[in-house]
Symmetry: C2
Subunit: 234 residues, 2 copies
């Protein structure tokens, strides 16, 4: 029998296809469901999501623009690799953006921003309590992205978002061997950061942002040094 009538074609709203694919792939990449180096097949995705290749292609172009996938001409496209041998540029950029965005948030935030920030702060604290590593990673990124938004500099915000994304991938890797000591500390530091922002204490915010970032970098480097044996494929 043919498939006429049986499946009612699953109507989608007219521009939602690309966003769907984009969000799906982005999440799968950032959570390492698709590890670095994984090939991405357009036709396979197309038939899995029951749509043409066109919207999928558009999503892939966007992801490539954000550096999450690499496209070699005429040949397969794959999830972007992480340069584990030299994370320094990443760390440098991350620390600076932590500082700058926190500082700007202290300068430029509006009252309504704080409730958003506090919301993510609580989400993060909840994730720490339930020891949900994936949720911790995601809510921590959301927390700092919200601070960046409150700083109201779209250039910094977009770079920071990109760094936080990349950070999600790296953290996802290390949280396998996660020690429970540091998340609680981060909750406290987050609370201090919020207080500094609210008080519009620019210098303190700057200092806390920097210290917080360096804590994270140090932790990651420690974890990295410890289990450098577990190597990710490719």
């Amino acid at each position: 029998m043919t498939d006429t009538d049986s499946s009612p074609t699953l109507e989608r709203k007219r521009g939602s296809g690309v966003k769907m694919v984009y969000d799906l792939l982005r999440d799968e990449i950032l959570d390492l469901v698709l590890p670095p180096g994984s090939p991405i097949d357009e036709v396979q995705l197309a038939e899995r999501l029951k749509m043409s290749r066109t919207p999928i292609r558009e999503a892939l172009v966007r992801l490539a623009g954000e550096g999450l996938i690499d496209t070699l001409p005429n040949r397969s496209t794959m999830v972007a690799n992480i340069d584990f041998l030299n994370l320094n540029p990443f760390f440098d950029a991350l620390v600076l953006m932590y500082r700058v965005t926190t500082r700007l948030a202290a300068q430029n935030h509006r009252p309504e921003d704080l409730s958003v920030i506090r919301g993510f702060h609580e989400d993060y604290a909840a994730a720490v309590v339930t020891r949900d590593a994936l949720a911790m990673i995601a809510t921590n990124a959301a927390f700092h992205a919200a601070i960046a938004e409150a700083g109201r500099n779209p250039y910094f915000t977009s770079l920071f978002r990109r760094l936080l994304d990349e950070g999600r991938r790296i953290l996802r890797l290390y949280y396998q061997s996660y020690e429970e000591q540091f998340p609680q500390r981060f909750v406290d530091e987050h609370a201090q950061i919020i207080a500094a922002i609210e008080a519009r204490d620019v210098e303190t915010a700057d200092r806390l942002g920097k210290a917080h970032a360096e804590q994270i970098v140090e932790q990651v480097q420690m974890l990295f040094a410890r289990n450098s044996k577990l190597d990710i494929a490719l």
Copy 2:
């Protein structure tokens, strides 16, 4: 008569279409040939460049990813506006990236980088001599982009490139009423920056980068204040 045989279909290499459209539109946007707010018609472009809408669409998606065009769903896409009423976020980001990239270049550059940088330095000096405003803008951006490359932090480099692009649009506007005093000064400052980088004098590079950036910002703000009457359409 039909057009069979007459025009031999103008064969293009297989992936070159998108790059062609992308480069073309990018240049026209940055040089204000397409001023902010200009509508971009896909079909019109398609028949002008004698290709299908698909590669044009891909180029537009890329440009949208870099913030050079805005796409409203189901409706026309147009060249991104510049928020002239609040250039502060732009200036803040620009100054910081000038500093950081110059500093990192002093730290991380390799000998071969210097010749590239010097090349653009000379191009800029030549543009100043011939008083070619468009060339000055473009070579100045290329000069600083080359310094950023020598700093070897892709995150900073890509943000800085984006800022330099945006700067090209803004400068392009003000160079209409351009006063010849400052380009020569910039040539000298560029030379000092090169010297600091070559000497690996990180602190001096940082200081020079910051000062240079602030010079530019100040100039633009002065020009902006002076002829705030000439308003660009939309």
